[in-house]
Symmetry: C2
Subunit: 266 residues, 2 copies
């Protein structure tokens, strides 16, 4: 039986990965992050080892001891933890020294290098999940109106530039004004801020990075996203085809339809 390592961040993405890997006949050795990972993951993997977010060396050693030679990263690890009370171990401190800044791309790439240098290949996190990368099209019963299409196009232009600068992946617009730009606070908080500033009826556009590395930090849409959109009184969501993971598609679509939110995969 083939064996694959999983560094599991928050949310349901690691669960989906573990289930899909198991169904494909792979044994999953999970490294779980105390500050992030859902305990539910325990049920779906052959091994689980819990660490604090800063314990890079222990994570590497765990995979090596388990004879893991390929791995994926799935689920978000909150970057603000880096600035918070978490103590990076010596190995992680060395990573920080090697990189010019802590932008997502650079940090994740260097973290991958650490595993690769130990003989552990870092695979696309969508390896068993290509069915969850949606095609272009409209998911909901309600299509975006002409006005909304204008907002989506405007938001898309801005979001792509923001992503290109590695600031964030989402913008919230209304009347072709940028209400909020996501930086490190994360998409959910940016959506809520935009919704409040725009007093609802906002349009959310989320994109992948221009050169999205499918090995990590894939934009993900799920049931929680719809909850946030409803709270922000958003009327429309657009995200990129083939480069966004859509979890629980049926439930997401049902909830969006119920709330009158139009979802467009662009």
């Amino acid at each position: 039986m083939s064996r694959i390592g999983l560094i599991a961040g928050s949310g349901r993405f690691p669960l989906y990965f573990a289930l899909a890997a198991k169904q494909s006949g792979s044994e999953v050795v999970a490294v779980a992050i105390r500050e992030e990972t859902s305990p539910e993951l325990e049920k779906h993997v052959s091994q689980i080892h819990w660490f604090h977010v800063g314990e890079l060396q222990n994570m590497i050693d765990t995979f090596k001891n388990a004879g893991v030679n390929r791995m994926v990263m799935a689920g978000k690890i909150t970057k603000t933890l880096i600035f918070d009370k978490i103590h990076p171990d010596r190995r992680l401190l060395e990573v920080f020294k090697k990189i010019p800044n802590l932008n997502d791309d650079i940090l994740l790439r260097q973290l991958s290098e650490e595993f690769i240098s130990e003989g552990i290949e870092v695979c696309d996190s969508t390896t068993y999940l290509s069915v969850l990368l949606p095609e272009k099209g409209i998911l909901t019963k309600r299509k975006p109106s002409d006005d909304e299409m204008g907002e989506i196009e405007y938001g898309l232009t801005i979001a792509r530039k923001i992503a290109e600068m590695d600031i964030g992946q989402a913008v919230i617009v209304k009347n072709k004004v940028v209400l909020a730009v996501e930086a490190i606070e994360g998409t959910d908080k940016a959506i809520l801020r935009g919704g409040e500033l725009g007093q609802g009826d906002v349009v959310v556009v989320k994109v992948a990075r221009p050169k999205q590395d499918m090995r990590y930090d894939i934009p993900t849409i799920g049931v929680d996203t719809i909850g946030i959109l409803k709270q922000a009184r958003a009327k429309c969501l657009a995200f990129e085809a083939q480069r966004t993971l859509l979890l629980d598609k049926e439930e997401v679509t049902r909830l969006a339809d119920e709330a009158g939110i139009a979802i467009m995969v662009i």
Copy 2:
């Protein structure tokens, strides 16, 4: 005695304008915004007329009745009011119809056109205030460290691109990561958010628009800015020479020195 109209937004900028105009021998006819203008302005102008933010026609008529043929706009008018409970009059609704979107630049330009079309010239809001546009240099006792200089340069690159897209004028950075980007929430809220996300020691960079029109919405730094920087535990502020109004320079510098904040005019 020459007569000049003043549309007075929030903060101390309108007060400074009124004082400087009076000292230069000009009589100031002020249009004050109930939602924004400090009542203190009353003491420094020959006439003051109070309106709600949506009453564009009344503002125009006031200037015409007072024989005003040149005017300035000074002080911020909160753009979120547009999305809020304020009812635009017919004249303002027409302005909205004339423009493709509500970006600051486009909106302010069209608003100016309305006054110009009625024979009222819109002058630089720095007309009597050139002494408040600082030169390049370091204002505080503490100079930015080499690390801080790196952060300022990084932030400046990003802030200029953000300003170019007419999203906002400020970014908050730390470790060469963009913590927060100002959109329509305004600079103060963006600084506070960035400070919280970065857990202090953040660097704030504020720029003018690439083609800053000195007639309106000049970036302004004052005593309040330092209060916000302290609250966000910022260690450094940089803003653009000649295109930023620095109010109460002595007091700003004293407060920054007291807080150990380095201020650089770039």
